[in-house]
Structure formats: structure tokens, C-alpha cells
Subunit: 164 residues, 4 copies
Amino acid sequence: MLRTVMANLNKVLLLGNLTRDPELRYTPKGTAVADLSIAVNRRVSDGAGNWTDETTFVDVTVWGNTAENSQKYLTKGRGVFVEGRLQLDTWEDKQSGQKRSKLKVVGETVQFLPDARGGGVPNGGGGSPSPSARPAGGGYANPPQGGSAGPDSDYDDEGDDIPF
Amino acid sequence: MLRTVMANLNKVLLLGNLTRDPELRYTPKGTAVADLSIAVNRRVSDGAGNWTDETTFVDVTVWGNTAENSQKYLTKGRGVFVEGRLQLDTWEDKQSGQKRSKLKVVGETVQFLPDARGGGVPNGGGGSPSPSARPAGGGYANPPQGGSAGPDSDYDDEGDDIPF
Amino acid sequence: MLRTVMANLNKVLLLGNLTRDPELRYTPKGTAVADLSIAVNRRVSDGAGNWTDETTFVDVTVWGNTAENSQKYLTKGRGVFVEGRLQLDTWEDKQSGQKRSKLKVVGETVQFLPDARGGGVPNGGGGSPSPSARPAGGGYANPPQGGSAGPDSDYDDEGDDIPF
Amino acid sequence: MLRTVMANLNKVLLLGNLTRDPELRYTPKGTAVADLSIAVNRRVSDGAGNWTDETTFVDVTVWGNTAENSQKYLTKGRGVFVEGRLQLDTWEDKQSGQKRSKLKVVGETVQFLPDARGGGVPNGGGGSPSPSARPAGGGYANPPQGGSAGPDSDYDDEGDDIPF
DNA sequence: TTTT
DNA sequence: TTTT
């Protein structure tokens, strides 16, 4: 029989917040790689009119320029949009000799969202940011916005459930 | 032959900014409906190392609660994420009697993004926003952030092309 | 203010069937372009337990190799998976001088699905297909399957509503 | 500060083939659950003009009716389209007491594609299928097609790389 | 190991 | 009719 190959699609779309600063490292061959840890929230109903946020923590691996720019421009708390694919890493457990595998997400494009906190540059001082410190993503910049979250910034969630 | 129905998918995903305030109206039957006009930018290369932004303007129709909340909480300039589907409206042109059609996007879910400008509530005064005036989307709120963009806020685009 | 560019996304995903053979043409500059007409079905409930199929007809424009291969390998009835983006064509109406616009879908990748009818090569004769006539998509082949649908093949749709 | 919740998205789209028959089981509470093992192929270039297929194996968990219908209607080799989300299962390793986690895909909708092999009903006999034995997915049916792949149907993959 |  |  001729090969009847199916159309194939392996796509992951994530919109969420970084749970920590990206960690940049290099492979032995010198390729940049970084892991983005993203928290994605989902409203879940208990069926009795109560909604809670269920959070999924997803690690996304990015390579090359994307890795280097992620480390440069993304920081904990930042909102990001990631388009990527699933990858199943497989290896043999050295101790047991058993086959092991782990599902991962490889990020192909990363864009970042405006800083919800309207806050300054991550780790930023009080002065003008240097050009190289400008947060940016996907060719998209995101500036400092001067304000401090200040004393009003305690977490406060009441009354925000809009039945969109 | 039995019907061999294919899997079907009709999905539109948009992330962009509103080009104007949503306009809420009602059908004769009383159903709320609103049109969101969204500008989506795409970086386009001319092949010679120059990148420009190409903007696509997309109108998205939303219904019911989504329409009402869009009108309440979304304003011109706002970033939104829309998940929807394509719809082909067809009608007969009264004058010519010809069949006409128009491709549209129906928005099924709308979420909004933090205000990039770090600005206050849309149309907002200086005090605490009333609960009903809180901008929110998808069950997600977006608060005033107190800051003013200030004198630095002139549009400035140089140096922002990060090769992500 | 620095430019606070939003993340942007303009994505269309379609899975459906071609309503006619693709029509290949060339621009004055010699670029291949084809229009794919795709029917996408959606199950719609009337709220009273009855489900009907609502069909959306979407025209997708494809360029270059994708256009040429679409014309070579895709035929009416074929299942296709398209990933693309929305595009708003705008022009001035010559008669009225008014600005007009039309929302279109540009297909960036096209893959095709196995022929649900289990039928032979499109336009195919009885013999072995020549290599160049092999239907394929996205680097994916789809062979002739030689069989006849047989006497059971009258259209028959009852009882197929699986509450998946 | 009010909660400035980001838009959130956690979406997985897969189009591939089942590597084995779905396994249906029930939770202690009686909820049906099944695991679909899906192979998704991706064309990968080595940069020197050679393309190979890289296969990613993804396990997808489906619940309730979707689980039961998957077991009824889906079989090894079948093409499926899955729309779902990522989920991170976490638990404590009993032996080591360490926190462990595993990324999974939860399938929210499953549709199936026509059988590329043009073959009959899975496990099917020669007669008319009973209504309950009709393969179907997403409210979509897929009939027996009676034919035999015939003498042309030897596996043959050369020359199929269409530069779509 | 967790973000908002 | 356009947003950033």
C-alpha cells in the first residue's frame, strides 16, 4: 500500500505569566537554550456557581535568539504569548535501565505582553533605561511606565468576575 | 455511500488592539450584539533586512454577555485576545438582485490584556473606581494603575526590533 | 514613551472539504496564486435536542508552490487542513469612488487529508498512477485506494450523532 | 492594587494517528476515562536538502462520553484531530517522598478523520454495520468503504515530498 | 520550584 | 472608519 500519510499538526498556544526569570544556558555545542516557566490560569466552575482559578504550570524550552532575548527581556511575572509544539524527550534511566520519557513544550515564537503592573523596568533603577535594557519581545518593545505599584498593590480579587 | 464526514475546524485566534470603542446594539429580538474592531500587526520583511509593520483590521462580532461586557469594559486602544470562528454572511442585493456575501469573524471568547499605557480606567476619574466601572474581561480584571505616561510618552520606536 | 507594542496574533485554522477544484492563475509578475473554496461544517443545536450541520464556505488564497501544488493535487471534495491568517483587502470602487474592503483568508500551509471516499486518483485512469500524479500534501502522500464504495454507499446519515 | 489578571490561554491542537486502540477505564467514582496515544509527524530538514519525519508521541486523556466513544469508534492507526489543553499532574513519590510532576494533554474535543486505508469498519464484518457499530466522531460518521486496497497498495513512499 |  |  502506498503510504497514506495524514495531515499532521502539533501546536501549543499559551498565554500566561512567567513564574520566574528565564534561565539561559548553553549546550556543549554553544547553542543558547532557556526554560520559561509559565503559569496559565483557567476559570473552573464547581457547578454551584463558584469559580476558582486553576493554575497550570508549564515549562517551555526556547532556543537560539529566542532564548537569549528571553533572558534579556523577560522577567518573573511578565505576561507572555507562546506558540510552540509538544516534544517527547525520551532517555534511559541510568539506574534502572528503564525507558523514561517526559513531555515538554518547545516554544517557537515568544511575544510578550504589556506589564500589567504598569511598573518600572524589571530590576530597574530610577534612571532612564539603557537601550540594551529595553524590554522587548517579538520585535515588540515594552517600556518602563514610571509608576510604582505602591501601597495599593496588595492582591485583591473581589468583585472581578465578569461573566464575559 | 454513507456520509463520510470529515473532522471540521473553523477557528480564528486574534491578539491585537481595538481601533475604537465597541458599539453595542440590540437585535429586534433583544439580543445584545457588538462589533469589535481590532488592529493586528505583523512584522513583514522586504527581504533586504528592513522590517515594517503591516496592519490588518478585523471586525469581530460578539453576542450576548460578551457584547455587553465588551461595551462596558473595552475601549479604543485596548489589547484583546479573541477566539472565534469565521462566518460567511450572505444576502441578496436589493438593487441588483445579485447574491452577495461577506466574511466575518464571530468572537466566542474575549479576554483583555493589561493596558500597555499603564493608564487609568477608561473614561475614569481620579478616585477609586466603582465596582461596576472596573475594566475586566473573561472574568479578568484590569485595574487603574495610577501613573501618567508623562512627558516621556511621545511615540518612539527606534531600536526596538528585537530578533526574537 | 517608548512604543509599547502588544503581542499580536492573526491565525486561522480550518479543517474542511474543497467545494471545487482549485483554480490556479498567475499575477502579472508571474506569481502563482490559487483560491481554495472550503466548506467547514459545524454542528448546531436548536436547544431542543436537534442538531443540524451549518456550513461555512471560506475562500482561502494560497501563493507560490502551495498554489501550484494545490492545483496539482487537490480536487473537489478533498479534505484539507489549512493554517493561515486573515487579510483585509481594500480598494476603491471605480464606479462610486467609495472605499470597499473584503476580508480574506491567506493560507500559509495546506495539508490534505485522506480521501474519505476511499476512491481513486482524482481524474485518475485505471492504471498505476505516475509518480508525478500522486496526490500529496505538506510532504504527505495520499494514494489511490482502488476500491469501489459498493452498494452500501448511498448517502445515509441517520443515527450518526455520536455525543462525543 | 486590584488584580490585573492577564488573558490566559492553554490550547493544544493535534492532528495525527493513534498508535494503539484507546484503553477505557473508570475512576473509582465511575467516570469514564481513556488514553489516546497519538503519533504526530513533522517534516524536519537537516539543512542539506534532506527531509525526514520526526515523530512525536503524545498521550491524550479524554473523559466521560468522549472516552467511551473513543473506545467504541477509534482504533489503532486512525487519524484524529484533538483540541485540548495541557495539564500538569503532580504527586509525591512514595519511595523518595519527592515531589514529582508530569505534563499531560487533556483532550476536550476529538474528531476523527477518514480512514486513510479506505478499509472497512474496525473489527467489522462483511454485512451492513449496525447503527451502534458505526464509527463516528464529533457527531461525525465514518462509514465502511467496502473496497480492498488492491494490488497497487504496497507501501511506497518515494517521490512523495511535495514542496507545498 | 511557582505567575496574575 | 483605524490600534500599538
